[in-house]
């Protein structure tokens, strides 16, 4: 670039220096990159109908069918849950509502937390299996 354009050079960002959390760990790992390190998740509990919290609705912000349907499925797999459903009340609002009703032994919030944990475990299994299968496939191809 010519000299006249030098003033357009971008400044370095001081807030991302080496001591910044996470920077050191890039070099060694082969993990798929995670650009969304920060946690911007937002969830609120909407009014609860019963006194014992066995039923509740939750509002997820900036979520859609992607998480909604997968989470609904895994929460429905919980035998203590009587009902679970989700909806997107309005297409131009990035909000997803989820309704959970349990039989009363656990609270709706517990059911949701268990659902999230189960889905996370599922993701780990999918990753493991995919990596293993890729190794098998490449080894077989080389032969």
């Amino acid at each position: 670039m010519t000299n006249t354009q030098d003033h357009e050079t971008l400044p370095d960002a001081p807030e991302y220096d080496a001591e910044n959390a996470g920077d050191a760990e890039f070099d060694d790992d082969d993990e798929p990159l995670d650009l969304t390190r920060e946690n911007n998740a937002k969830i609120t509990m909407l009014g609860s109908a019963t006194d014992d919290d066995s039923c509740a609705s939750f509002q997820f912000e900036n979520e859609d069918h992607t998480l909604g349907n997968a989470l609904r499925w895994i929460i429905m797999k919980n035998p203590q849950v009587e009902f679970c459903g989700y909806s997107i009340p309005h297409p131009s609002e990035a909000k997803m509502n989820m309704r959970i009703q349990t039989y009363g032994e656990i609270t709706a919030k517990d059911a949701l937390i268990k659902g999230l944990a189960d889905l996370r475990d599922l993701c780990d299994v999918v990753t493991d299996k995919f990596v293993a299968e890729k190794e098998r496939f490449t080894a077989e191809k080389r032969r």
């Binding site: 670039m1 357009e8 050079t9 971008l10 400044p11 370095d12 960002a13 807030e15 991302y16 890039f26 993990e31 798929p32 990159l33 995670d34 650009l35 969304t36 946690n39 911007n40 998740a41 937002k42 969830i43 509990m45 997820f60 979520e63 859609d64 069918h65 992607t66 998480l67 349907n69 997968a70 609904r72 499925w73 895994i74 429905m76 797999k77 919980n78 035998p79 919030k109 949701l112 937390i113 999230l116 944990a117 189960d118 889905l119 996370r120 475990d121 599922l122 993701c123 780990d124 299994v125 999918v126 990753t127 299996k129 995919f130 990596v131 299968e133 890729k134 496939f137 490449t138 191809k141």
Partner: protein, 353 residues
């Protein structure tokens, strides 16, 4: 009271009938069948879940996910299309553009050019915040990649007067994606060194045409974004799945009918086998994977009640075609990580409150 093997097999099939599909929704939930469990069981899932890779080219993968619900497979597909971040040209500063392509049209074309570079280098990049109030909204070497495009068209005086081909008559008569040059800032020369420099995936994308005296001089700022925001950020050309077709022959189809039966399917799906002893011809299904489920067999009376078409509910044939920034396998793994990250984040927020 465990269900019979036959019953379990029946539950796995979404039936495709002559005029409708039936048995569409999954029924593997607790309380659906009396006396059966169906509760989420990680070990059981690990045992039953399978992945089979069928095609593994860098940018084009085909693999089967077996033993997972549609809601999960669909989540992966949706994340691949709309939530895996990639780099794309977001802002174009036009210093000079005397070509016939208007500034805004050229800017739109540039935005859609897929970019690639050192994959490790991309890990250093961060979101550029859109809200001007936030500190990360300022352009830095961590969130912005600068590219330049400076092309001027001139006449080539060395060609004979009879020449009519513009590509020989003029220099730079066409502007291609290869003319976009990376202008590294700050620490970017280390992150995207040598062959890892940021460039267009396909150098031959035609951006504009020029004639002598016309010139394009631009500076472009690329940022990370997701497909949800704009399709140019989508890392995949296509990410789709289909369910494995299933063809069940309930009564033997023999003789003339066997030939006709095979003809109802695309090549390689079914074939006629001749019995060595009796010499009788019999139709057998060899590879239902190749079937398009056209339902042609169901139109013929001779096959009534003899064949059942369907699709396997939990067998997804995934195909992921990358635009080039990442390989398809990396994209799928990233998609799984993104779904996991969502779960962790919400779980954290719930446990806090």
């Amino acid at each position: 009271m465990a269900p019979t093997q036959e019953e379990l097999e029946r539950r796995r099939i979404v039936r495709v009938e002559e005029e409708r599909v039936s048995h569409v929704t999954s029924t593997d939930f607790p309380g659906h069948y009396p006396g059966e469990d169906h509760a989420w069981d990680l070990d059981e899932f690990r045992k039953k879940f399978k992945i089979q890779i069928h095609k593994a080219n860098e940018l084009d993968y085909e693999f089967d996910l077996i033993g997972v619900d549609a809601s999960v497979a669909n989540a992966f597909r949706r994340i691949l299309i709309a939530e895996v971040p990639t780099l794309a040209i977001e802002t174009v500063f036009v210093h000079n553009n005397t070509s016939i392509v208007q500034d805004e049209v050229l800017a739109q074309r540039l935005g859609l050019v897929p970019l690639r570079g050192d994959k490790k280098g991309f890990q250093h990049l961060r979101w550029r915040k859109k809200n001007p109030e936030e500190p990360a909204a300022e352009a830095t070497d961590f969130n912005t990649v600068v590219m330049t495009l400076k092309v001027a068209c001139t006449r080539n005086h060395a060609v004979p007067a009879t020449e009519t081909d513009p590509s020989k008559l003029y220099f730079n008569s066409s502007v291609y994606a290869r003319d976009i040059k990376f202008a590294p800032q700050g620490r970017q020369p280390q992150w995207f060194a040598g062959a890892g420099e940021i460039r267009a995936v396909n150098p031959d994308i035609l951006l504009a045409k020029l004639r002598p005296g016309q010139e394009i001089d631009l500076e472009m700022h690329c940022v990370l974004g997701i497909g949800q925001d704009h399709a140019k950020f989508s890392p995949v050309a296509t990410a789709s799945y289909r369910l494995l077709p299933s063809i069940k022959i309930k009564q033997p189809i023999t003789g003339e009918d066997a030939e006709k039966f095979v003809g109802c399917f695309p090549a390689g799906v079914a074939e006629v086998q001749t019995d060595r002893k009796t010499g009788e011809k019999k139709a057998v299904v060899v590879n239902p994977r190749k079937d398009t489920v056209s339902r042609e067999v169901l139109r013929h009376d001779e096959f009534k009640g003899k064949v059942e078409l369907g699709r396997v509910r939990d067998h997804f044939i995934f195909s992921v075609e990358s635009t080039g920034m990442y390989n398809s396998d990396e994209l799928f793994l990233q998609a799984v990580q993104i779904l996991k990250k969502k779960c962790i984040d919400f779980q954290e927020k719930l446990l806090e409150s």
